[in-house]
């Protein structure tokens, strides 16, 4: 694991010269957008003024030109920033990935496949709008991993009846687990037991959409998570007493909602984020260290899962 001091050195010695060039580009892009925005809004305001001087009664769609101006600015803005965004990913994120671990690869437009996301079976609803980017893949020590940002939604209805259900948004991690297993085990955030105690546990037992409830002996773990598995013994083989502790520690470290599933000898970890990950910020200078630290910490969080869950301990038959 790289430390913050190492990152600082890397930032000053390697990243900074290129960041200066990129920073110029950011300013140009930002100026262009401000110019377009100012232009579009000025025209809209002139339109409204002319219109208002002609018609002397209240008109319902008087602010319509402003909306058009906003749409034009956003659309052109997106087109203009595209190049800057891909430069940023190549110069900053890709190099940060290599800095965190030489053996990892980065694909800015790649993502965890929808089929892989569904195969984890963490979420019941299958998404029909599935997006993602910033795929990182490779080996961390002995463990094959891949992770990316994922945004999965389910949209139904149209027009006024349209409803969008956010299934998951955040970091999705898939790693090769260090033990062989055949069944399926799910570790999900506990909602009912936390508030309802024993009665909540009874509800969990009746959850027909999941396999059997597994009651584990670690009280701290049981407070945070509920476990379902197709095999009572195997669930405990996977969730050793030390792994339970590690999962609780990981959850506390991230401070986010964490879902895990153990399917087909792999561990899937879904960490919910509200912010977008590894994206450039247009309105902020690139030469600050703080955003770099944030990208780095988000990366470390994902790569660190290997260490946090002890996946590199290969003392069983799976090598």
């Amino acid at each position: 694991m790289k430390t913050l001091d190492e990152l600082k050195r890397f930032y000053h010695q390697v990243l900074k010269p290129d960041l200066r060039v990129l920073e110029k580009k950011r300013q140009t892009v930002l100026n262009q957008i401000i110019f377009i925005g100012a232009g579009a809004f000025s025209i809209a305001v002139i339109f409204i003024l002319i219109f208002a001087s002609q018609v002397h009664e209240a008109v319902p769609f008087i602010f319509f030109p402003l909306i058009i101006a906003a749409v034009i600015t956003a659309g052109l803005g997106w087109l203009i920033t595209r190049g800057y965004r891909s430069d940023f990913k190549m110069l900053v994120i890709e190099r940060l990935v290599k800095f965190v671990d030489e053996d990892l690869n980065y694909d800015a437009s790649g993502k965890i496949k929808k089929s892989e996301f569904n195969a984890s079976k963490i979420f019941h609803t299958k998404p029909n709008v599935y997006k993602g980017d910033d795929l990182v893949y490779g080996k961390v020590g002995d463990t094959q991993v891949k992770f990316s940002e994922v945004d999965a939604k389910y949209e139904s209805g149209s027009g006024k009846n349209k409803s969008v259900k956010q299934i998951f948004k955040g970091l999705f991690f898939i790693g090769d687990f260090n033990k062989h297993f055949a069944g399926q085990t799910f570790v999900l955030p506990d909602t009912s037991e936390k508030f309802l105690g024993k009665i909540g546990q009874a509800f969990q037992e009746w959850n027909i959409s999941r396999p059997d409830l597994v009651k584990l002996e670690d009280p701290e773990f049981e407070r945070e998570f509920v476990v379902y598995s197709t095999d009572q013994v195997e669930a405990r083989y996977i969730l050793s007493t030390s792994l339970m502790k590690r999962i609780v520690d990981f959850k506390n470290k991230t401070g986010k909602k964490v879902n895990l599933s153990f399917v087909a000898s792999q561990v899937n970890v879904a960490v919910s984020f509200t912010k977008r990950l590894f994206e450039p910020r247009l309105f902020r200078t690139l030469l600050d260290f703080e955003p770099m630290q944030e990208y780095f910490e988000d990366l470390q969080l994902a790569v660190g899962i290997v260490e946090d869950l002890n996946l590199n301990t290969r003392i069983w038959t799976k090598q």
Binding site: K215, L216, V233
Partner: protein, 187 residues
């Protein structure tokens, strides 16, 4: 009218009794089921032991006594006709001695590098881990069962079915302490 109400109450009570009855049976079977898994895993381990001992014997010169003891215990275990308690006690002893061997391996670099041994060691680790998982599963299902046997209202039905509280696996006192390898080798 009164008859219907009485009948209704009787049906509801009957349904409750059937539900409790089935829950108890389910919990009892769960205990037996997990005990079966432990049995199967122990057998798997006993099948592996001769292989391990043959591989280790070539290298280990000073631990003959230890190896013979394991072979002897294994023979006893696979001979069958043991009560559950005896089986558990025997299994505890084997675990302890195996721990001793795995520590002693450190003194034999050649053995540690032996591929055959490395594979056996991994398999052994895996089975040990599975056995400990199965024991935890057993304890969890026994606790679940015991709760049903002792708590109201299922305790009434359990009493009628003459279900008794079962014992959970306990780690014997001498295993809670760290394995004293010195003492083991000097035996």
């Amino acid at each position: 009218m009164g008859l219907w109400i009485t009948l209704g109450i009787v049906v509801v009570i009957a349904v409750f009794i059937i539900l409790m009855f089935n829950t108890l049976i389910g919990k009892k079977n769960q205990v037996n089921n997990v005990f079966g898994t432990i049995d199967a895993l122990l057998k798997k381990r006993y099948d592996l032991l001769p292989k391990l001992i043959t591989t280790v014997k070539e290298y280990m010169k000073h631990e003959r006594g230890l190896l013979e003891k394991i072979t002897e215990l294994r023979a006893k275990a696979v001979s069958g006709n043991l009560s559950d308690d005896q089986q558990v006690a025997l299994d505890n002893q084997v675990s302890k001695l195996l721990g001793g061997i795995m520590v002693a391996v450190e003194n034999y670099p050649q053995l540690k590098a032996n591929e055959n041994f490395m594979h056996l060691q991994r398999t052994m680790n895996e089975i040990e881990e599975q056995i400990s998982a199965a024991r935890r599963a057993y304890n969890a299902s026994v606790t679940d069962y015991n709760n049903a046997v002792e708590m109201f209202p299922t305790n009434i039905i359990a009493g009628m079915m003459s279900y008794r509280v079962k014992k959970v696996f306990e780690i014997p006192e001498d295993q809670r302490r760290d394995i004293d390898t010195e003492a083991l080798f000097n035996k």
